[in-house]
């Protein structure tokens, strides 16, 4: 079942002591952005594969459990397979033609374009896991606020991440309660199943909106909004190793860009 516990809640993060866990979350966010940009700029399938390999090495260093990695990769692999299969069918351009099925022509360049795109999507998808496997939600929200997200929006985000597992557990418990009363959730037509779903959603939403009421009173009573220059107790600080990591990340983007666009190396 991987990272999905008894409540059906999904959290890719697991605690750990690797250097990826210790690096400032802001550096990791910048790394995700830069590596994504790099994936878009590269157009050569070999250099993209190299980038994917690099990302996998980082994932390996993050020491995520196999089940967690597999849970995340299932989605990526499905995307990639679909791209490789569907691309040549809709792109008949180029020669040589490998095969012809009625109106559909499978050409070699189209297949390569499909593979290139699939590897790029693989990079774009997997680079997120470096961040998600190694950064707790709390650190993520703080980093975003430090990077300029308004404190109140950050608070709303933190609230929603805090309540996500609660609501997942509520949904599971409601599902059980409906089943205990003889409802068969996953039987019948799609429409009937959706109707069954409403039976789960109503109590979930009503109890959630009630908690929103209580929560807003709690925020009021704890002087939310009294000062605009509010800070966190544990402010994230850039340390020397964070600065070093940041320069590596910048180099990772700048060096290939230099080779490709200045020296004209076909990367």
């Amino acid at each position: 079942m991987g990272c999905q516990n008894m409540t059906g809640f999904v959290d890719l993060y697991s605690e750990g002591g690797t250097f990826l866990h210790r690096i400032d979350a802001r550096v990791k966010i910048v790394a995700v952005l830069f590596l994504s940009v790099l994936a878009f700029l590269l157009s050569n399938v070999y250099s993209l594969t190299l980038l994917l390999a690099f990302i996998f090495i980082l994932l390996f260093l993050a020491r995520a459990s196999l089940s967690r990695t597999w849970f995340a990769l299932r989605f990526v692999i499905r995307f990639m397979v679909l791209i490789v299969v569907l691309w040549p069918i809709f792109d008949p351009s180029g020669t040589p033609v490998w095969a012809t099925f009625g109106p559909v022509k499978i050409t070699e360049p189209a297949v390569w374009r499909g593979v290139t795109s699939a590897v790029r999507v693989g990079c774009l998808a997997c680079v997120w896991y470096i961040l998600m496997f190694t950064t707790s939600q709390r650190d993520l929200v703080r980093a975003l606020v430090k990077m300029g997200l308004r404190f109140d929006f950050g608070l709303a985000l933190a609230i929603s991440l805090r309540f996500l597992p609660t609501f997942s557990a509520t949904i599971d418990s409601i599902k059980d309660a409906e089943r205990a009363r003889g409802m068969e959730l996953d039987k019948g037509s799609l429409l009937k199943r959706s109707r069954n779903y409403v039976a789960i959603l109503v109590p979930t939403i009503v109890s959630a909106l009630r908690s929103a009421d209580t929560l807003s009173l709690a925020l009021h009573s704890r002087a939310y909004g009294a000062r605009a220059d509010r800070t966190y107790l544990r402010e994230p600080k850039m340390r020397r190793q964070d600065a070093a990591a940041l320069s590596v990340v910048i180099a990772l983007l700048v060096v290939p860009v230099f080779f490709k666009f200045v020296l004209g190396v076909p990367l």
Partner: protein, 284 residues
Amino acid sequence: MIPCPTADEGPIAAMRNVDFSYDDGTEALHSVTLDVWRGEHIALVGGNGSGKTTIAKLLNGLLRPSRGHVLVKGNDAAKESVAALSRTVGYAFQNPDHQLFCSTVAEEVLFGPKNLGFADAKAVEKADRALSLMSIGHLKDKAPLSLSLGDRRRVSVASVIAMDPEVLVLDEPSTGLDAGEAAELMRALDGLNQEGKTIILITHEMRLVAEHSERVLVMAHGHVVLDCRTRVAFSEPEALHESGLIPPAAIQLAHRLSDFGVSPEVLTVDELAEEVAKVWGARI
């Protein structure tokens, strides 16, 4: 009275060497074996996280044992769907809000019997009976989740009673009820028990256990540590203490007074008063 097992009828529900672990690795039950006989009034007690709710969910198929067997009416529950098992074992959830979703109380209580395929007239009859048993007939047209906690609790219990299961499992049904409401709920359950329904009450309130249940199952760390008649369980409070359970005041007082000749085998305030009156020869 605890009904005696007869040759022609086995236990209505039973567990044989059942182990259960949740997906995240939490081991909830270790080798639990127990029999539930038709017409019993059982209290399932123990600290939080001792496995009470897990037992309840195993009995109606919401959870499936990791090892061992759950038998309902002599058949292996593994082969039955939750919907099929819910005809025999009804389960009222701990949090009433998790099972209320219809727009009126009447629809809510009808939902179960309709799912089980009762004809309309029969379903309405069962629903009405459940409503009047829980004395919430007057709330029929209200939206369930807009009611007070006590009333929501009663609607959720009524919606399970309406399915007319032979075994009723109630998960902490008295939480959030005031003393009067709780007493009324327990009277209704005792009435159903008199009619032959099996009641399994999961609770932290030892007074309700002492006053209403005939048999006590004490859970601790996933084991059944005590399974006996209520009177016996409370006459040796050490086992209860080990599981973090404290007998009700009347029973504690009786134990303190046992040096003065008061029998410690009392369960209720009334019985204690009688004992004290007998010993001191005065009428109270």
